[in-house]
Amino acid sequence: MVAHNYVFVGLLLLVAVGFALAPLALVALVAPRKRSPTKADVFECGVRTHGETWVRFRIQYYIYAIMFVVFDVETVFLYPWAAAYGSLGTFALVEMTVFLALLFAGLAYAWAKGVLRWA
């Protein structure tokens, strides 16, 4: 059954987490621990940290993120289509072409608008 697979995934997840944590536990036992205020400072090329951590990011990040989200959702529609394509007729190709064209138009729009330019 389908869900059996995911028991394994769950176990694997545990293994992965364990695999990550085990050496860290070992580190906690073995490694030296000498705290000092300077050491615990945030690293800034040897300069004392000033100001807050936050920097104002450019809006580009959002634009790329939104394009990513849109195309990611698109794949959710593309995969089932691709899997079913063999058992469907031409109409499936037509529909998908329309869908792809719509999404591609979004990309072309962002392109033409000049927002795909970093810096």
């Binding site: 079913a84 058992s87 037509v94 719509l102 138009a105 729009y109 033409a112």
Partner: protein, 571 residues
């Protein structure tokens, strides 16, 4: 082996040609704006974009009219269709089942009439958008308006919840964005965010209700839901899950049609949005939502309206009646205090939602079946026409003053006498003064409400009508303020400039249409009645259109369509 997949009939796309044209045209407008029109100066670019958009709307309108003609022909003279278009296409057009895309969408005259309405309104809205420059992103703006219309058309035609949901979201998401398009002003961005927050919360609530309905009925098709619900008698009485589902759906639709208590966003959004967008939210979105609401509540959930024959009993009829009463009273009273034209129109549109909800309530208990929903359709048409005109006035003010205070209209009659007359007509129609169409809209809704149903529902509806009449009188006060400003006051500051055609034409066209429909209401009333029937019975081939009799029980070998009925352990 996978069973053979029933292929999609690509001819189905012909029936949504107007929507397809608009969807495609949105891309065309963006491309034109980014390409050809980029170098024009702002005013010329705006006009060019607007004209380009109008061309698309015109194409869509042509296809919608063509489809209306075809569908009318299918009812009257089907063989001729076959003769005209050949066996394949003509035979397809002549089909009368009224459903396409595997039953998820309706086709037919009802859809065509609504499409024509949407397109006419859209043309006015697009035209008035060219009157003043509120955004730099013109191509995007017009495309979003077109795509919102696509959503509205399909929302009004949806016969199934998944399609309904995605169409609803397409509409509202486009409108959230369009609301925030006025870059020069903070309030536009704020209105967009407010609209978004309220809207997405309400659609989350709506979705939850929808999921419960799906669970209860086991299907997402309106007709199948109706059939399942007709099979039982529980109604809301013993079924808190059903009650929650209904209330949540009501929240969703209540938000979209701006019924109290889900109206908080309305004044702010109408005020903050650019006037054409506000016009489109107030008319197009409202029309589509009301049609969808009629379908969901009367067609799918109709059996739950008043299951035990008592209006205050456990059905949604009582809830809707209360909401309608509160909505119209609140809208009218709040509108009295407004000094800003768009806020006044916002509250008045809340009030109109109240009147139309009376019509929804009436349609569900009608003695003459779905035909009485025609009253709501008629009301929607005249309301939308008058309101588009009124918002064009707001756009006029926004163009010259940047704000929309009613006081800015002072003394308009002296300078633009003909337009002032048009505005008078629009206001009178909104009040419901004969002989304008608004009067017949109200009359018709109230008449339907009065002649409905068994005695106990009749009492409640009678009270509703009485309240509605009282409210109409109240509404006269604030609409008349506009007239008073135009005719009785002298302009205090700089008077507004005369309207250019982009503003004058929508106002005049709306006024003319409202007058014509008021003087000769017959044809449109008949049309509304006749389209309301297929609208609310699509897919219901077993039921005669006029009478709402319970469907025969589903065949015995099927598991009775009950979603959660425990499987008997025999298998």
């Amino acid at each position: 082996m996978p069973p053979n997949v029933v292929p999609l009939d690509l001819r189905d796309f012909l029936c949504i040609a107007p929507a397809l044209v608009l969807a495609f045209w949105g891309l065309v407008v963006i491309a034109a704006d980014l390409g050809r029109f980029r170098r024009l100066d702002p005013d010329a670019r705006r006009v060019a974009c607007g004209r380009a958009t109008l061309v698309g709307v015109g194409l869509a309108l042509a296809s919608a009219v063509f489809l209306a003609w075809v569908d009318a022909l299918a009812q009257s003279d089907a063989p001729r269709l076959v003769a005209l278009f050949g066996d394949s296409l003509g035979g397809y057009f002549a089909r009368t089942d009224g459903l396409i895309f595997f039953g998820t969408l309706a086709r037919g005259l009802a859809v065509d009439v609504l499409n024509v309405l949407f397109l006419v309104l859209l043309a006015m809205v697009v035209w008035m958008s060219t009157s003043y420059g509120f955004t730099d992103d013109l191509g995007e703006y017009f495309a979003l308006m077109l795509w919102a219309t696509v959503g509205m058309m399909l929302l009004a035609a949806a016969e199934e919840l998944a399609t309904l949901f995605i169409a609803l979201e397409t509409t509202t998401i486009c409108l959230y964005l369009a609301t925030a398009f006025e870059r020069s002003r903070r309030r536009s961005a704020e209105a967009g965010l407010k609209y978004f927050v309220y809207g997405s919360v309400s659609s989350a609530l709506f979705l939850y209700g929808l999921s419960l309905v799906y669970g209860l009925a086991g299907s997402t098709y309106f007709d199948a839901i109706g059939r399942v619900l007709r099979g039982g008698d529980a109604g809301l009485a013993g079924n808190l899950a059903g009650a929650s589902a209904l209330l949540l759906l009501l929240v969703g639709f209540g938000f979209k049609v701006s019924a109290v208590p889900f109206q908080q966003w309305v004044p702010d959004v109408y005020e903050g949005a650019p006037a054409p967008v506000a016009a489109w939210i107030a008319t197009g979105s409202k029309v589509a939502s009301f049609v969808a609401m009629l379908k969901v509540f009367v067609h799918a959930l109709g059996p739950w309206s008043h299951p035990s024959g008592s209006v205050m009993g456990p059905g949604w009829l009582g809830v809707v009646a209360v909401v309608a009463a509160v909505t119209m009273t609140y809208g009218n009273l709040a509108a009295l205090a407004q000094k800003d034209l768009k806020r006044m129109l916002a509250y008045s549109s809340i009030a109109h939602a109240g009147y139309m909800l009376v019509g929804v309530a009436a349609a569900s208990v009608s003695t003459e079946g779905p035909a009485s929903a025609g009253a709501v359709v008629y009301y929607l048409i005249v309301y939308a026409l008058a309101n588009v005109g009124a918002f064009a006035v707001a756009a006029w003010l926004a163009r010259d003053k940047g704000t929309e205070a009613i006081a800015d209209l002072d003394g308009l009659a002296g300078r633009s006498p003909s337009l002032a007359v048009c505005i008078v007509v629009l206001m009178l129609s909104l009040i419901g003064v004969p002989p304008f169409a608004g009067f017949f809209g109200k009359l018709y809704v109230f008449m339907e409400a009065l002649r409905q149903g068994p005695s106990d529902t009749r009492i409640v509806l009678t009270w509703l009508v009485a309240l509605g009449l009282f409210n109409s009188v109240v509404s006269a006060f604030y609409y008349v303020r506009v007239l008073k400003a135009m005719y009785l006051r002298e302009p205090s500051g700089r008077p507004i400039e005369p309207a250019r055609p982009a503003l004058a034409l929508p106002i005049a066209a709306a006024a003319v249409l409202v007058t014509v429909l008021g003087v000769v209401p017959g044809p449109l009333v008949d049309l509304s009645r006749s389209v309301a029937v297929p609208m609310l019975t699509a897919g219901r081939l077993d039921v005669p259109a006029a009478v709402d009799v319970p469907a025969p029980a589903p065949p015995a070998e099927k598991p009775s369509g009950v979603a959660w009925h425990p499987e008997t352990p025999t298998d």
